[in-house]
Symmetry: C2
Subunit: 142 residues, 2 copies
DNA sequence: GAGTTATTGCGACTGAGTCTCGATAGCTGC
DNA sequence: GCAGCTATCGAGACTCAGTCGCAATAACTC
């Protein structure tokens, strides 16, 4: 979905230094199909002996989230997770069985938000739509 | 929005014991206009010397969330919060200035979700829409 | 190649949420 | 009203995610 080079390029383009831990994390993130937690990355980095520490994982995820390369996600379990994605406004649908996630454009939702704004009198600044269910693969497996 | 008696009745109806801490929390929750965190309730309970401890606050919120009297909410800051609400499917719009929250029915969103399901092939089990912005009062104050 | 400084690792720390366990107090049945 | 059963509570230790401060390191720049 997003490859390591894209992540590295984005970091470089934004003026961040290309360090070994950042390259390593870019690789880990790219190798993940779906969502992942900070703990996942940390565990994986330990397993592969990449020598990336806890603080660095969190700091890097912060940077990547700022750049929009990665997006924060709240799982129904209450965990905080991330997904790699293109930096345009969109939402995610997450498979509750395999964890895979797919980007969804929000056409249609804008209209719903606008109607809600009109009905309630609120000025809506941001919205977040998270969908959870079974992906096609897991559906046919079931 | 939701009064203490409603919360107490719901607990009783579901076969839970009506204890002093639960009554106290029902009162605190009812007195809150918008969303609140477990920490808010804990602080308020200490201030009013209600003698409700941390573990009890969390346990009670779990119960109330199971009953659908209270709903979990993830604030953009990453904090976990709750809102008291009617136990029917709906969403919340939260004022980022005063914290007030309003329930929003999801007519229109169902159609969006159905379209997304069709486009992606996912079977959508749950969805969560969270809207953040300025409520009418805060808008006119600004 | 030297200098500047962003970034890292380390390790201590914080704060939310959980768990255990003995004590307490609601409810039920009499 | 009282006794007994047991759900619930309080206390406090514990866990785990995430943060912070600081000295050491290593990317870039010139």
């Amino acid at each position: 979905m997003v490859d390591a080079a894209t992540i590295v390029d984005a970091l470089e383009g934004a003026g961040y230094r290309l360090t070994a831990p950042r390259r390593a994390l870019a690789g880990l993130i790219a190798s993940r199909g779906g969502h992942f937690t900070a703990e996942n990355l940390l565990g994986e980095s330990r397993r592969r002996r990449l020598g990336v520490t806890r603080a660095t994982v969190f700091r890097s995820l912060d940077v990547l989230a700022d750049l929009g390369i990665v997006e924060r996600l709240d799982l129904p379990s209450g965990e905080h997770a991330f997904v790699a994605c293109e930096p345009v406004h969109h939402h995610h649908i997450v498979c509750s069985s395999c964890g895979r996630s797919t980007e969804v454009e929000d056409s249609g939702l804008e209209a719903v938000a606008a109607r809600i704004a009109r009905d309630t009198g609120y000025r809506i600044d941001t919205h977040r739509l998270e969908l959870f269910g079974l992906c096609p693969t897991c559906r046919s497996a079931a």
